[in-house]
């Protein structure tokens, strides 16, 4: 923060930030404002125009058991995805951190999935788990294990959790690997000299020293699971069967775009937006404190 360039006058600085401001204005503030506005309206019965109804949409939302279920489902989904993606990534990072042959190749391969588009990762899982054409799906059915995520909500949820977590493993892996490598080698060696081995050394030395990374990743993963998994879920299950895989974001889309309940859907978006703001604020708080400490 020391290297600042000071521009004189008013015009040049204004011009320099203008493009960013325009973008933010058109792609965030405008739609956000529109969402806030339409969350307080409802379409009249003949579809002729919208009527201002105040906070009625919100009141309706929070008394809707389906919405409350969706919240719970989303929380569960986010936790499952985050924990799975982080645990697998940590395991892989621990192995990649060792002195092994072909380490560079191994690491590169692990980073690749991050570059795969959500829809593609969904297709990948379809090819694996589809009951008719999927490798694993067919194998399961042939061996007497009924597998069809079109019918079984639990299986559908499992599948979107797997697909969503898989995509995030790479990202977590990079951070965990960097975290592991920033642990001073001498500290680990001191623990070895103190007699600590294996799981115990991992639990008492490595894991605590990774705590900042873990916290950061937890926030990022929760946000990812809550908002960025739309593509993956929609490509695999479209939120079904029933509402089995309908997270809040999917619900916004289904209610708004498919069921044409613009007011209710907008109210949901506004709630989500507030959620993002809170999470981001929390994250900035902690991260800011860490770096300045």
């Amino acid at each position: 923060m020391d290297r600042r360039t000071i521009f004189g006058g008013q015009l040049l600085p204004a011009l320099l930030v203008l493009p960013q401001l325009v973008l933010t204005l058109f792609f965030f503030y405008w739609p956000a404002a529109e969402a806030v506005w339409s969350s307080m309206t409802t379409t009249d019965p003949f579809g002729q125009g919208s009527v201002f109804v105040g906070l009625e949409n919100f009141a309706e939302l929070f008394s809707d058991p389906l919405y409350l279920q969706a919240i719970l489902r989303t929380v569960g989904f986010c936790l499952a995805v985050s924990v799975l993606a982080m645990a697998v990534a940590l395991l892989l990072a621990v192995f990649a951190d060792r002195e092994i042959r072909g380490r560079a190749i191994y690491r590169t391969l692990l980073i690749w999935p991050y570059a795969v588009a959500p829809a593609l990762s969904a297709v990948l899982f379809l090819f694996l788990l589809n009951p008719q054409v999927g490798l694993i799906g067919r194998w399961l059915n042939r061996h007497g294990i009924p597998w069809d995520y079109h019918l079984d909500g639990g299986q559908a949820l499992l599948m979107v959790v797997l697909a969503s977590a898989w995509k995030q493993v790479s990202y977590n892996f990079i951070f965990y690997l960097a975290g592991l490598q920033s642990i001073p080698r001498a500290v680990v060696e001191a623990a070895r000299m103190d007699g600590a081995r294996g799981w115990r050394r991992f639990r008492t030395i490595t894991l605590p020293l990774l705590a900042p990374t873990t916290f950061f990743l937890l926030v990022v993963n929760l946000v990812y699971a809550a908002f960025d998994t739309f593509g993956t879920i929609y490509a695999i299950t479209k939120g079904g069967p029933g509402q089995a895989t309908e997270t809040l974001v999917i619900k916004v889309y289904r209610d708004g775009m498919i069921n044409q309940d613009i007011g209710g859907s907008s109210a949901q978006s506004v709630v989500l937006m507030l959620g993002v703001i809170v999470v981001t604020a929390v994250q900035f708080r902690f991260m800011g404190r860490r770096t300045s400490a």
Binding site: A186, E189, A191, M193, A196, R197
Partner: protein, 371 residues
């Protein structure tokens, strides 16, 4: 407390041979200081003993048992690292207690040992602090404490004082020596500080490119360096070296810069004209009315003494340590004191003892096995 014996220890990293044949024995309670230039393999030697690296060849006997194949956890050795390597997320107390908890000591026993060590090191007030809330000297003490509480068979120190300022270093140096004596734990201490090398150990091992160049008491290393490398490495400012040839049937050396010096301790072997290197420390040169003319280039006044850097005729560099202030002038006359000169063979660089005294240096380690 234990004895340590290294037998034919070698270590290579791929093609690079870092340690070539280290043989040494440490008596129970002995402190051996290892010195050598940067990169000569000091840390590698310690890490082999610690078990953090495994030897390419050779045996490491701790109390007579070969531990070369054992995990560090099974060796019962404590190490103090150069950058302390404290556990940053634990309090001072937990840092010290960590190894004891792993050994399964009772809470009371742990508390007692940690308190004792903390008392010994003056850490009593700091037990609940985290390492980042400590000064460098305090961290150093915690690292010591962590080693002490374990009551290990062996202490390893890898340049433990190099991150401290000069004053603290002097203080901690004395403290380490006192503690080591008091606890009587066999120790290996790596340093490249001259004073630590001279004062801390019972014996001194000078490493040169992975070879043991000399293993002897510090005084012996200083007074009878085994070769020109050791002679130049131990002592500050470094020893001066002058080319010479053997003359007067081995009873004197003719310096390339002129004068003939008779050996006070007896004749050296070899034919007339054998090439020698004569070593003489700066403090054993004196300014005199009559002597070798030295063209002065630089005078460093150190307060109680001055260092005079210059050239003899033919461009041979020479440093003189002169008590008091150096006289002005562009040339001074320097007298050599023959009783303090060291005689080395020019080809091998090895010390050339007087005839009949060759057996008088049994503690030279086989650095010259390539002879």
């Amino acid at each position: 407390m234990a004895t340590l014996e290294l037998q034919g220890l070698r270590k290579s990293f791929g093609e690079t041979e870092v340690l070539r044949r280290i043989d040494l024995t440490l008596a129970d309670g002995e402190m051996l200081v290892i010195v050598g230039a940067s990169g000569c393999g000091k840390s590698t030697l310690l890490r082999l003993v610690a078990g953090l690296e495994s030897p390419t060849e050779g045996r490491i006997l701790l109390d007579g048992t070969d531990v070369a194949a054992r995990d560090p956890a099974e060796r019962d050795i404590a190490m103090v690292f150069q950058n302390y390597a404290l556990y940053p997320h634990m309090t001072v107390f937990d840092n010290m207690a960590y190894g004891l908890r792993i050994r399964g000591l009772s809470r009371d026993a742990i508390r007692q040992r940690v308190d004792e060590a903390a008392g010994l090191l003056g850490l009593g007030e700091l037990l609940q602090r985290k390492p980042r809330q400590l000064s460098g000297g305090q961290r150093q003490r915690v690292a010591m404490g962590r080693a002490i509480v374990r009551e290990p068979k062996l202490f390893l120190f890898d340049e433990p004082l190099s991150n401290l300022d000069a004053k603290l270093r002097v203080q901690m140096r004395a403290e380490i020596r006192r503690l080591q004596r008091r606890l009587g734990v066999t120790s290996l201490y790596v340093t490249h500080d001259q004073v630590e090398a001279m004062t801390l150990g019972d014996r001194l091992l000078v490493l040169h490119n992975g070879h043991p160049a000399q293993l002897a008491t510090p005084i012996e290393v200083f007074e009878q360096p085994a070769d020109t490398y050791v002679a130049g490495f131990i002592g500050a400012p470094a020893m001066n070296f002058l080319d010479a040839t053997l003359t007067e049937s081995g009873r004197a050396a003719r310096l390339a810069v002129g004068p003939v010096l008779r050996f006070p301790d007896g004749p050296r072997p070899g034919p007339e004209g054998r090439r020698l290197t004569i070593g003489i420390r700066p403090e054993h040169l004196a300014l005199a009315a009559q002597g070798l003319p030295l063209a002065v280039e630089l005078v460093e006044p150190l307060g109680s003494e001055s260092l005079i850097h210059g050239h003899l005729q033919g461009g041979v560099p020479l440093v003189v340590k002169h008590p008091g202030h150096a006289p002005g002038g562009e040339t001074v006359q320097v007298a050599l004191l023959p009783e303090h000169m060291h005689v080395f063979d020019h080809e091998t660089g090895r010390r050339l003892p007087p005839i009949g005294a060759e057996t008088g240096a049994p503690r030279l380690v086989a650095a010259g096995s390539d002879q």
